[in-house]
């Protein structure tokens, strides 16, 4: 199988599309941002493929700049998300609803996210005592 330009374009479009869909559907800020980055990677593949196709380096140069800019954006994203997390302990975009049209109700999920239940911390057997195997363990041994 020869790999033609169209294969690259298809992969790029798929990456871009997945990123777009992910960006629009996911709720975690970091995931959303990564989806946007994924879109950028799709673009990068496009550029590289076209660069090869046209036999010039313009596309590759473009990719380098895309990467650089993506890195800058990632840096800013990280800083922003850290400060967001510090303030509200959540990176869920549905928590970002303080700014909205007057009189619009909060957008609520039909089935809200189930927050994991905190389990009580386990404890060790006090020093000196033999650990008491559970019935299950006894049966297994």
């Amino acid at each position: 199988m020869t790999i033609t330009l169209w294969h690259f374009l298809a992969v790029a479009a798929a990456l871009f599309g997945i990123g777009l869909v992910g960006f629009l559907t996911r709720r975690n800020l970091i995931t959303m941002f990564l989806c946007a980055e994924m879109m950028l990677q799709g673009v990068a593949i496009n550029f590289v493929a076209f660069a090869r196709y046209h036999g010039n380096l313009d596309g590759q140069v473009f990719v380098m700049f895309i990467l650089a800019v993506a890195a800058c954006e990632a840096g800013i994203a990280l800083a922003l998300f850290v400060s967001l997390w510090r303030r509200q302990r959540s990176l869920d975009v549905t928590d970002l609803q303080d700014l909205r049209e007057l009189g619009t109700p909060l957008a609520m999920d039909a089935d809200p996210l189930v927050r994991p239940v905190e389990e009580p911390d386990p404890t060790l057997t006090p020093a000196g005592a033999r650990p008491q195997p559970t019935a299950e363990e006894v049966a297994r041994v």
Partner: protein, 523 residues
Amino acid sequence: MTDPLLKQTLTGVFRLAVPEIALVATACAVFLFGCLYNRRWLWFTVSLLGVVLAAVLGGVLDAPAPELLTAAPLVPDGTAAFVRWMSLISVFVLLFVSWGEVDRTNASEYYGCLLVAGAGVSLVARANDLVTLFLALEMLSIPTYVLLYLPARNKLNQEAAAKYFLLSVMSSALMLFGFSYLYGLTGSTNLTVITDSLTKAHADALNPMALVGIVLVIAAFGFRITAVPFHFYAPDVYEGAPAGVVAQLAFFPKVAGFVALARVLGLLGADVKHLPFDSATQLPLLLWILAALTMCVGNALALLQDNVRRMLAYSSVAHGGYMLMGLVIASSLPDAAGRPDVGGIDAVLVYLAAYGMMTIGAFAVILFLSPPDRPVEAIEDLAGAGQAHPISAAAMTVFLFSLIGLPLTAGFAGKLLLFVGAFSAPNGTPVMRNLYQVMAVIAAINSAIGAYYYLRVIGVMYLRTPLRTPSRSRAVPTFLASMALAGGTLFFGVYPEPIVAAARKAAPVPAAAAKPTAERDAK
């Protein structure tokens, strides 16, 4: 590869960006030494000097135009010069405006970011290459992200920053995807080559790839100019973000978006070239729909707002729609019969300048009237400002009247040009001609609708008694900036000729085939 033209082009490019380099260098210095001395006035002065230096360099240095436009990453055409001056002046003003909300711990970063963003705007107008264009846009966006959460004091600031950031990143991705297809079709990232080859090579058969590409690009720029399907972030961000930053945010991305859109569509320059659209209908029609939607939705939603900033946000959406009219006109020019007197782009430039003055001014007044403990948010917060702060209120009134488009303010000159343009946009097909006139009528009706909510603010300021004791704001530079902007708005309202002449010089009306008009034929 030793083409002397090429060498001249590539070596001469640096001279084209000297003022921007000066700006960025100043920003670097401010960033670097800002961590050593936390002095607001010091960095303020240094930044001002940087802007002045850039302006002097821009005025003194006579950079030769590149010989080989198909290889030049930057072009020094009139539009670029106009936008450069616009961005330098607005950075200058914004430095004053933001005095009210910069504190000494982040002064250097704030001013540095502002300078870089200004350089970005200026470079957007200059870019003749997709890479340069992209980088210039990011030079504008990235400092803006930083600015958005640099003075962030509360949750709303952060929320606004996060919203703007995510959507902006996504719009960048959309734009890049469009760019990649444009590059793929033409094999070059040079805009001259792209517009040229797409017009010539694919004039008959439209490549769907070009369509996808250009639609994505228009959508992405739509984010920056808050065109309607992409406007939804604007009100939230304007409401949540610090006022000084919003002043920048309302202006810079719009300038960049419009100029970049015009550049990518090949609408700048004396001879208009086009992407492979049927310029008689398709591209103008697309932009037409965008413009009409933007105007109507922006104005309609602004009517519902109680928050000044949200109201101004929707108003900025609506103004984006008015300015899109200019692009519609410009995009229809290749089919022009005769040489119209308004080319669209010049109208957009004039309107942008006017819009910059009035919107930055409005936010400057809001910032000046907002002490940190009691920011102006609801329209009612301005009640009685006419008595409490007569001068600021008068300035605000000037800005609002200008936003309405009343005569003797700069906003009127802009609207007049757009209307003249919309009527004179000549087109072969009568359908489109009627559509242009309908567009002008829609814009007129929208201006009247817009008057309703602007007038509400004026009414609240003057016809109500104050709800709270007047606050004493000490941000004198902010005040000065708003005064200067009000003065400018009035001056260019009374005598718009200088700015119009400059815009026309910047974007001369393209020469089309000089067909005599139908009226002349009839004679």
